[in-house]
Symmetry: none
Subunit: 219 residues, 4 copies
Amino acid sequence: MAASHAPARDGRILRAERIRAERRKQVLDCARRVFAERGYHETSIDDLIRDAAIARGTFYLYFPSKRALFEELLDTFLVELRSAIRPIEVDGPVPPPVVQLQENVLRLLASLEDHRHMTRILLREAAGLDDEFDRKLRDFYDQLHGLIKGGLELGISMGLIRPCDPDIVGRCVLGSIREVVASVILPPQGDAGRLPTTPRDVLAREIVSYLVWGTFRPG
Amino acid sequence: MAASHAPARDGRILRAERIRAERRKQVLDCARRVFAERGYHETSIDDLIRDAAIARGTFYLYFPSKRALFEELLDTFLVELRSAIRPIEVDGPVPPPVVQLQENVLRLLASLEDHRHMTRILLREAAGLDDEFDRKLRDFYDQLHGLIKGGLELGISMGLIRPCDPDIVGRCVLGSIREVVASVILPPQGDAGRLPTTPRDVLAREIVSYLVWGTFRPG
Amino acid sequence: MAASHAPARDGRILRAERIRAERRKQVLDCARRVFAERGYHETSIDDLIRDAAIARGTFYLYFPSKRALFEELLDTFLVELRSAIRPIEVDGPVPPPVVQLQENVLRLLASLEDHRHMTRILLREAAGLDDEFDRKLRDFYDQLHGLIKGGLELGISMGLIRPCDPDIVGRCVLGSIREVVASVILPPQGDAGRLPTTPRDVLAREIVSYLVWGTFRPG
Amino acid sequence: MAASHAPARDGRILRAERIRAERRKQVLDCARRVFAERGYHETSIDDLIRDAAIARGTFYLYFPSKRALFEELLDTFLVELRSAIRPIEVDGPVPPPVVQLQENVLRLLASLEDHRHMTRILLREAAGLDDEFDRKLRDFYDQLHGLIKGGLELGISMGLIRPCDPDIVGRCVLGSIREVVASVILPPQGDAGRLPTTPRDVLAREIVSYLVWGTFRPG
DNA sequence: CATGAATGAGTCTTCATTCAT
DNA sequence: TATGAATGAAGACTCATTCAT
């Protein structure tokens, strides 16, 4: 007899969980926007709940603290970003390295544009958030740097890349991409951005050309 | 009678002003260090006055607010940095452009190392301090970008630089330098820095080589 | 028609009421334990419903407030305790007063041990819970005091009790019992109690001896 | 020259310290009263600063937290109380033990009356304040109990005290005193107390008589 | 009846700034 | 000029209670 109610109860519970998840997501979405606009430190719980149109207590029903909410936002985003980047392969029937590089940059740009708010946060809050957050960001950039550096070392050993210090040049490559993204994403005070209309593929092409050829015109 | 005292009074006043200026400088020096260590937001007035060994009220005698002090620090530093960069000249008996570029990078690195604390702050607090500060930083980077972009455009018109989008590539150049500096200056958790021993001129040579030649090995 | 259903409905209603009463009792039992463990103020509604395994709203279906539940717990316990104490009689075929006294103490100790949780609460939360609760506790102790005082006055008039201030000595008697109980019931930090193994009748005998003879060894 | 200012500066600093100490004391005095009236848990920082007529921040200038302030109050009081109690001596030209006992009780009553507010708190907040506070109170009572118990054991061995369980009877003695004090100090709702006019020495005499002789009238 | 999501008043604490001495 | 005590607005977080489902 109790069993006859089980499905109904399960259904209700599942529904409740779905609703709960939606609510969480809604709060997360609002928070993302508010953090992007005001910055982590400048954003108070008050700002968050006003924007999400929930009560003070409701916030703490879904997140144990402002910090935890931000951490979730950051973690999710970093995972998303990492998934956009794939190590360059040289064995088997794969596109040439430069093409793979360009695809990586393109995927990265796409991912960043898809998450403009978080990108904005990532670029604004370079450091100084919190020891833990700082470490996470540094780890993320170090991973990127490690991938690039590895690619360069491989390229050098294969004679594709000119001899250079992979560590330093790896930083240069990382910085090139980062700065272009920042100029596109960080809007000068409510403006739509400096290069708002530059299509993503043009950006990617220019970046990669620069990474590969530098600026000098030979001949 | 008043006249007879004037020189003495002037002397006293001048002396007082000198003392006052020294005191200011001392506080600014301390603040620079503390801000670099703890970050702008984490630094309280308490931290500042404790480090400078002055009383609370004294602080406000010299600076109207924590914000204003930081602004002064930032302004001074940005002026200093700007002075390290000289537009590349092509007319007259001047070194070749690449050499001028390298000299610029070298001067910049020297200046940044001379002011490690402020450099640290500049890189930590990428943005999100304050709307006004954000604008200043953006203006600074925009100026750098403008100089680089101008140089690229000139180079392109002279056939020295390969045809490219000077705006985007200008961002890349800026980002390359910025990222390398960050990796040198921002210590990974109390460490002395990732590339602590790399001499300044090696850094400059690697950066410039990259800016000029990119990563590809032709032939 | 209505009449023909009446007994069935009554039965259903009665059954429902019984279930309701059982549920109430279950919640009360849990609450008693939780209050005894954590104290009234430290115990949150959350603690109560988690322990009773009921939902938040359900709690308020049975009790109008945390305060009201505690009040019920307290009232029930005080009634129970009062029933353990019987005025000492001197007329008729009754045991001698000292024996009656000892029986009272014994019944009191038994009752307190039967309701260790509430005893613990009663001793922990001496006062400061709430004006109303404070009054109730004071009333209870005043009743005890009144009984003892009356007994003393009677004893004095009969020449059994040495002349003394019944009010003050009444307080002494009350305090003697209270303190011994506290030392037995309030565990010193997770311990089982200071006099854990002292049998109830030994306690009662020692207490009564003290009440009667004091500490002095005559002769 | 600097030395010539030293005395003046010292004077100023000493004066400032005195003022600071006075202020602290004033806040402590107010807090004592408020805690006594409302209880520890019911008293908010708001209550404290309103009563002391200081600003919120000022409070934290003198005390790191509400808890710390209360701890100071409690510690000071417990030290004061302990100093009122002196072990009973039997060697040398000392008054008879009963007299020493009575003197102890008298000093204790005096001390408690001198600090009515803290006494009120001590009796109200029997436990449940905080694990640390609870431990302190228990330790205090355990010390008292230890002293009494030691006295009883000595008395028994000397044949002055009738054979009894010193542990249990020690609790009785402690409880007798405690309860009388409570009845005098804890006012029934704004009333001046139940035995308001009973002089301290009468109380002491009655208590000690009871401790020594019990209630029975021999003969 | 039962549920648990939502509420918001209330709590402690911090800190940039002011001002009397 | 120098001091540091005083201020109070603002912040993060808790929890008893309500109410729509």
